[in-house]
Symmetry: C2
Subunit: 294 residues, 2 copies
């Protein structure tokens, strides 16, 4: 029992709908003979006549009616999801930490959309790093001291992070240029990197003040804005808040932090341009050229 030729079904529904091979052939940009042949082929595969041939055109048999019914709805369903899927074409997912999302990415997103109107970027902000390899249409931006290298992915250090201490301009008891010792006496706000603890445990031995811990830099920054204390965070994440007067930079770590901003994206056998658009844009935002990496 031979399988139905599914492409012939498309010819069949056209002929069924129009009640004429000639009209169907016009609609499908085929010769009339081609339609005739394909219907004949279908009828042969089914062992059943689908059309009664009449003097002026054709009409469906009982079998033809049933087939037309289900094929029309089935092909309709397929076409519908196909057109839905086609819209995924330029959809790129960017996995980032919440702080990168809120403090770096979100303000720059409108610019990206204007530059790349045909790329549909969706942001996944999560505290944990992605547990699986990246798909062809995904990339990831993280910050930290190191990042495991995965086969099939490539990574680039975008910048080394500079750590700064920030607080609200309205926070009382803070002079214009306080010493580190003065700062440590204030309520200390930190994220999972526990940078105050490292600083205190390393250079200075006494944990003097209360401290407030968050699992994300962006929450720490928002706490600082709300006058809860002094946050120690990468300067990258507070540039905008400082510029807007919501935060004041009261200290800068002169040592290299050893923390970096990473961009990770899949190696591509065949270039996937929407992804590369995103990669290029992020590089450009840090003044880099992608060069031979792609």
């Amino acid at each position: 029992m031979k399988n139905l030729n599914l492409n012939s079904l498309r010819v069949f529904v056209a002929a069924a709908r129009l009640g004429s091979f000639l009209k169907a052939s016009a609609e499908l940009h085929l010769s009339q003979g081609a339609v005739s042949q394909r219907i004949k082929q279908l009828e042969l595969e089914l062992g059943v006549r689908l059309f009664e041939r009449e003097a002026r055109g054709v009409s469906l048999t009982k079998a033809g009616k049933e087939l037309a019914q289900t094929v029309e709805t089935s092909l309709g369903m397929i076409e519908k999801t196909a057109s839905k899927i086609r819209r995924y074409e330029n959809e790129i997912t960017l996995h980032v930490s919440p702080s990168i999302a809120r403090k770096w990415l979100t303000p720059r997103l409108p610019k990206f959309s204007k530059l790349n109107p045909n790329v549909q970027l969706s942001i996944e902000a999560r505290a944990e790093v992605l547990a699986r390899p990246l798909h062809h249409n995904e990339l990831s931006m993280r910050h930290g001291t190191s990042f495991p290298s995965v086969k099939g992915e490539q990574m680039r250090h975008l910048i080394e992070l500079e750590l700064v201490a920030v607080c609200s301009p309205n926070l009382p008891c803070v002079g214009p240029r306080p010493s580190l010792k003065q700062i440590l006496a204030l309520p200390l706000i930190q994220d999972t990197h526990r940078r105050w603890d490292k600083l205190v445990g390393g250079t200075y031995s006494s944990a003097t003040s209360e401290s407030l811990n968050f699992n994300s830099a962006s929450l720490a920054i928002d706490a600082a804005i709300n006058m809860q204390g002094v946050a120690i965070v990468p300067s990258l994440f507070v540039q905008d808040d400082i510029a807007a007067g919501r935060l004041r930079k009261i200290w800068r770590d002169k040592e290299p932090s050893g923390e970096y901003l990473f961009l990770i994206w899949p190696k591509q056998q065949i270039a996937f341009e929407p992804l590369n658009d995103v990669v290029r844009w992020i590089h450009a935002e840090f003044g880099h050229d992608v060069g031979t990496l792609m």
Copy 2:
């Protein structure tokens, strides 16, 4: 925007189900390269990747999952009606009058089924003649004085009908060989052909007795069996009832009745054997050869 190649979808669902192009190629009796090419073609048509290529096999992307979902159910629907339709292959519809159905056809149907087990005959018994032309898988058997000839159909007189009067053997007041005059004194049963009326109005002028009219010969015959009177019907329809002792023939019209049994079936450009099987069988039942008519 190019149309989806529907045949490729069949390859796609196999690959999606098995999670491997290689296994799909085995299932479909194709080379591995062929599967790869067809998936690639689909991905090109959609502008979206359907599979992530992984170290051991492939896995569906988000787009792929959605497509697989709907395509699997849609193709399932199509296959289901296709296999239903395939069973119509040998289905022939025979349009007859109720009397032919009950008194001639039904008793002979088991014999036909035994001779032609591959032909699925379905009977449409109706008092009115079919108002439309016959389809390629239909034929019609009627009786009457004439029958309109239709283009694209052929007709054959199977026999000229012989009219007889019959009544129940248990009907009182009927001698072994009653005269027509004696018969006309009994309750007269007739169908739409109104043969008693014609006989009375023609040869004999006085409508003597009560009469019972039905719209079908078979009802008239059943009334006669139930001792309601004397029915005048084609002998063809009462042969079995006479043989079984349910009826007695008490009179026979010596004049030619001018009524015939007709077989009508469509002219065929290409032979449709299941139909021809039926045509040949009916002819044979009347001792005819189909000869050059087909």
